[in-house]
Subunit: 304 residues, 2 copies
């Protein structure tokens, strides 16, 4: 069996974007250096979103040239203006985002799903002209359930995935359980639909689970059972908090993902102890103790 | 499909035993009342172990008569002396414990596995005479890996399970990932051996996962795939800490288990919000914030 796997580390973008305290750029650079030193390669480093919306990532233009060697970096690009800023810096891997729920898309990016597809079709077309060998990831948020309108029909999620593949022309999907509610049978249902009917390349479908209720690793296991999914998103130290409460789990912790994958026989290339230390300075600034389970266990074992 | 499930709440015994601070008996009684009010039925309430070994549970004789109506209670019994104390109180459900690793059994209960089987054979024989309609659970700790001697051969675990079934005559097994390292393929391997070769009743095999590295729910999912396992142990609020570090995950949190099972379509009979509040007074005395993921999420949703 092919045991290759790709972890997409989203801590510097999705993680820090959802933490209330902005991180100084030197600390952010140090954080990314530590992630690369742990063996992580694919890192979503920042977002070219308006600083008014996300002040935590307002340093993206300054950060990008400082990204350390050894990583393959991407940046979120919400619109034409964001693309312009990204292209000025030579960004070659971008991510765009929509959702499987109209209500979520409206509240999150102030567009309908259809409008988001139209917008990103143009953004990606412009990107392709500027960077013919570039790479585009498309996020599908609220792929299982919407915090505003409840459960999402998996056929609807499939439809949005196919719009991103066919209309926008993304290279890769990332399917997000944004509020961390899904359990393995839901993952299996959606996975089955995608395996049968996804218009893009199934091997380029990533899963982005949140661990808000402790189900993320079970969901990774459910996706892996299909033997075609090999890309998982996670955030070092579980950075990213929670939409509901301080201290609650949001993003799946990269430490938990690495521990699970390695124990299951997948080669991640990541050193768990180095990774467990990577987020410590950021957590210290945020005033938090490390709380990701495999991180705490690795740090405790290392200190014995 | 039969969607019945049984949760065995081990917080009052396995949880509190592993917390450094002893809980006053009034608070302990209140905790158990709250657990029963949430809908939990099967509760391992205490242990008749020597107070020298486990001062946290030294109030077992005083606690037992105060257990609230509505629960089905069991108590750990480590030896003849413990059985004598339990029988004086009318205990009708006992648990004995050994392990799949010689090194663990030696360090944990100062016996070889063989000696533990001999000891518990006599304890259980005496119990059967005193309580003909009683129920006996046998714990198999370190069923996947031993903290002292590493990985445990699943055939060895099966052998110990069969000794408990055939020699000791337990009614029910509980298979423990004591240090919280197992992942689903290991659970699947052991489950397969048990399904084929367990000498006792396979429907009476419980799984006792620790969530030290975030894999417990994935392991529950792996066990459920066999469609014969219906009993899972957990601890409200994740009480029980961790063998390695304060604040680290030990026992699987009952909140995470209930959330997962309900979302997967199993009827647990437990109200998640009531359960999420059940451990709050104990956590407050321990000086800890609630940290179980589904607990934090439920409390946050309830406070909106």
């Amino acid at each position: 069996m092919d045991r290759e796997i790709r972890i997409v580390e989203v801590g510097p973008r999705d993680g820090l974007q959802n933490e209330p305290t902005p991180i100084p750029i030197d600390l952010k650079t140090d954080f990314i250096e530590r992630l690369v030193a742990s063996g992580l390669v694919h890192i979503e480093a920042t977002s070219f979103v308006s600083p008014k919306w996300v002040p935590q990532l307002s340093d993206s233009a300054e950060l990008w040239p400082r990204l350390p060697d050894g990583g393959v970096y991407s940046a979120l690009v919400p619109n034409a203006k964001g693309l312009e800023r990204a292209l000025e810096l030579g960004v070659e891997r971008i991510a765009v985002f929509t959702a499987a729920s109209e209500e979520f898309t409206q509240k999150n990016i102030n567009m309908s799903i259809g409008e988001s597809i139209t917008t990103f079709r143009q953004v990606v077309a412009d990107f392709r002209v500027a960077v013919p060998r570039g790479w585009v990831r498309g996020y599908v948020s609220a792929a299982f359930e919407c915090p505003f309108s409840g459960r999402v029909d998996p056929e609807k999620t499939l439809e949005v995935c196919n719009l991103l593949a066919s209309e926008v022309g993304v290279d890769e999907l990332s399917i997000g359980d944004t509020i961390g509610v899904a359990t393995p049978s839901e993952v299996g249902n959606l996975a089955g639909l995608l395996v049968n009917d996804y218009a893009g390349e199934i091997g380029h479908v990533a899963w982005h689970f949140h661990d808000t209720r402790g189900t993320a690793i079970a969901n990774v296991a459910a996706a892996l059972e299909w033997d075609v999914f090999r890309i998982f998103d996670s955030s070092a130290g579980g950075l990213g908090g929670c939409p509901y409460a301080p201290g609650a789990g949001g993003n799946l912790a990269t430490e938990d993902l690495v521990y699970f994958l390695e124990r299951e026989g997948y080669a991640t290339g990541v050193d768990l102890e180095t990774l467990a230390r990577a987020s410590l300075p950021v957590l210290e600034l945020l005033g938090r103790q490390p709380a990701a389970k495999a991180q705490v266990a690795a740090l405790a074992l290392a200190s014995r």
